[in-house]
């Protein structure tokens, strides 16, 4: 199968333009932006905390849905033909403590955002949306209770560094998956694959309203997964680790055996420096330069900006941020920024200057 082509906007290598751009995060949005900018002849450097570029296309979504080789070949072509430099296992950090999100334990190097911003003419933050939403119920802290990504990430990552990650132990256990989106389907699929004794999915609405669609649910049922709708989890019971889950199903309260509970109910964006970068304002569109943060040469794109979306939207967002960044650098080089509506909202942040 031919590789994906993130450099689809140019027929071949571009002449060097003498500009340098840093991209944080090698998911679909970061790779799309890197492809666009390297097609303009920019020197592009991509930083990612994981050992391989691809983001959730590689470490979230199962390989039977996206062929890994197609992604690996694509990033190799970016390196060889378009001079893109990848810095794997490099986390761009912030004030937050380490080892907080999935995948942090892969880092070899930690760079501050400030180092990065000063190293390049401009940067784009494409760090995705990895912090899992919690159910907010009693017993959630018990061993055996996972978020969707906590459960799925080690399964995908084990092939890259088996010593560092522990695949969740669900063999012979009764597993309950809460939710009905992409990650819930993948988690249920994963649990069946790891040899769970039973897999039950709980969803607060009906199959017709499920984000993954009733077709996927039928496929899971064919694999032996039990589907329970109009179901809300109330409490995880157990002394040290999960033993059962109390849930309201259709109006009745039931206690279901569960030695593992996977709450795949969505992720929230955790970009480094969210507050300093004024991301809330960027989200609301209260900026005068598309995709630009409160630091004038730092842009943001993909799920880091929008919250969890889909590959297509993330790619589109990365492409638009890249175009905006290139336009901005062009006008800046011509000293023409003043002609455009570009005011105090896009503050000049002194902390990031020498």
């Amino acid at each position: 199968m031919p590789a994906m082509n993130f450099n689809f906007l140019c027929p071949g290598p571009a002449a060097p333009a003498g500009r340098s751009v840093g991209i944080i995060g090698a998911g679909p949005s970061g790779l799309a932006a890197a492809g666009h900018l390297s097609c303009l002849g920019y020197q592009v450097e991509v930083y990612d905390k994981l050992p391989k570029p691809g983001g959730l296309m590689l470490f979230g979504i199962p390989g039977h849905r996206i062929p890994r080789q197609r992604i690996a070949d694509a990033t190799r072509r970016m390196e060889r033909e378009h001079g893109v430099v990848f810095h794997p296992q490099t986390k761009i950090c912030c004030s937050a403590p380490m080892f907080e999100e999935e995948g942090d334990h892969f880092c070899r190097e930690v760079l501050g955002l400030k180092d990065l911003v000063m190293r390049h003419d401009a940067s784009i933050i494409c760090t995705g949306s990895w912090k899992s939403r919690r159910m907010g119920i009693e017993g959630e802290g018990l061993a055996g209770v996972y978020s969707g990504l906590e459960f799925l990430f080690p399964i995908r990552a084990a092939r890259y560094a088996s010593a560092k990650v522990k695949t969740p132990e669900v063999k012979g256990k009764d597993v309950i998956v809460v939710g009905a989106g992409h990650s819930a389907v993948d988690a249920a699929h994963g649990a069946v694959g790891l040899g769970a004794a039973s897999v039950t999915m709980l969803y607060r609405r009906t199959a017709r309203e499920a984000p993954c669609g009733s077709y996927e649910i039928e496929r899971l049922k064919e694999m032996g997964v039990v589907w329970r709708e109009l179901a809300t989890p109330l409490k995880v019971l157990g002394s040290e680790s999960a033993e059962s889950l109390e849930a309201r199903i259709g109006g009745e309260v039931e206690t279901l055996p569960a030695q593992a509970v996977i709450a795949a109910i969505g992720e929230i964006a955790t970009p480094p420096f969210a507050k300093e970068l004024g991301l809330e304002e960027v989200r609301k569109g209260e900026v005068h330069w598309l995709h630009m943060t409160a630091i004038e040469n730092v842009f943001v794109a993909g799920d880091a900006l929008t919250g969890p979306s889909k590959i297509g939207k993330a790619i589109y967002s990365g492409l638009k941020a890249a175009r905006s960044l290139a336009n901005w650098l062009d006008l800046k080089a011509q000293n023409r920024l003043a002609e455009y509506a570009y005011d105090d909202l896009v503050a000049k942040d002194e902390r990031f200057r020498k």
Partner: protein, 169 residues
């Protein structure tokens, strides 16, 4: 003579094709649809051998270019209210827009082909589900899995006509 082929059995409904087409052409010429049972799939132009759209257009605005792509020539199109081409296309691939002649369709990225590149959606589909294929390559792409998945999509856009009860492999 090349055309576009999507193997729906490989498609995960990620919308990349639609968004990449939108980035390149401002208005997408490939459009996602969601079937009643929740499958997301793109609808696209097959650049048919005997295209209904070209036959019904009184202005002769849809013609075949040198590479075999069926292209809409905006200069000839009157954007007529009957929208005969839209109604005639069995694949729902003539799209309404709010710009110009109010209609658009896939031209297999004509401008890109002129610069030695291929269709953008083919390059960017993460799953390799889209091919820019020669007539001679089509048979190999038409696997039983691909055919079963396509039947689901066609049953959705042509209610009553397809094997509506059919499910994928």
């Amino acid at each position: 003579m090349k055309t576009l082929h999507i193997d729906y059995s490989k498609c995960i409904g990620c919308e990349t094709c639609e968004f990449v087409c939108r980035f390149v052409h401002s208005t997408p010429r490939i459009m996602m649809t969601r079937t009643t049972d929740g499958l997301m799939m793109p609808l696209y132009c097959r650049h048919c051998e005997d295209p209904n759209c070209a036959r019904v257009c009184k202005q002769g605005a849809i013609t075949r270019d040198a590479h075999g792509a069926m292209v809409l020539e905006p200069l000839k199109c009157r954007g007529c209210v009957s929208r005969a081409c839209m109604l005639a296309c069995p694949f729902a691939a003539m799209l309404e827009t709010d710009k110009g002649v109010m209609l658009t369709k896939c031209d297999l990225c004509a401008e890109r082909r002129g610069r030695g590149m291929g269709p953008a959606c083919v390059d960017m589909c993460p799953c390799g589900a889209i091919s820019h294929a020669d007539a001679s390559e089509l048979a190999a792409l038409d696997t039983p899995e691909a055919r079963a998945a396509e039947a689901l999509v066609l049953a959705h856009i042509r209610p009553g006509s397809g094997p509506s009860g059919a499910k994928g492999s």
